[in-house]
Assembly symmetry: C2
Homo-oligomer: 96 residues x 2
Amino acid sequence: MLPDLDPLLHSQLRLQIITILVGVQSADFNHIMESTGATRGNISVQLKKLSDAGYITITKSFGKSYPVTNCEISNKGRLAFEKYVEALSKYINLNK
Amino acid sequence: MLPDLDPLLHSQLRLQIITILVGVQSADFNHIMESTGATRGNISVQLKKLSDAGYITITKSFGKSYPVTNCEISNKGRLAFEKYVEALSKYINLNK
DNA sequence: TAAACTAGTTTATATTATAAACTTAATTAC
DNA sequence: GTAATTAAGTTTATAATATAAACTAGTTTA
């Protein structure tokens, strides 16, 4: 039987966010917005979910004048992502 | 920007179903039930969605005594699946 | 100082996934 | 032979999700 897919990662936008964060040290809210094309509201919600799950850490600070929300993937998040990819490859590889 | 993931395939159960169907020439309702572990109701709904989208073809007949629902992936479904896998591979590295 | 902009959050809505309840027919038990 | 059980599905109800709209709070510009 095929393994379950972590529902937290099996969502297009959250997967996009994690994919971005896996590749860099950190990314701010605006960068995530630009590279996903999603709305602020949607991103805000999904970041919170990822943060609540401990998959990312969020650091809020103040730039020159406006607030800046910085995101970084956590160890837990990295592991969950690896596990997700492995599970997914069981689906994909069956039909090579 | 990362490509969209076909929402019809980006669902655990439907992806399981398609993964099964890609590997065989056809599979009946019970086989799908056993190999996914999902409930009849859920499978019924998802098969209908895949069928409505033209991703699979469903043939209903009568076995020895009980009705038999047979499913087969269509060309359209196969193409959609390939496209989905390709899109997904942009998110993750499947060659790990 | 009023209008417009930046960076977010909260709330409402529309869609989805899923299981529970229902239907229809066949088989078995009494 | 009919009552209970099982088989194979479908339909409906509910819970969870994704998403956008509306809102908040502060900043810059005209």
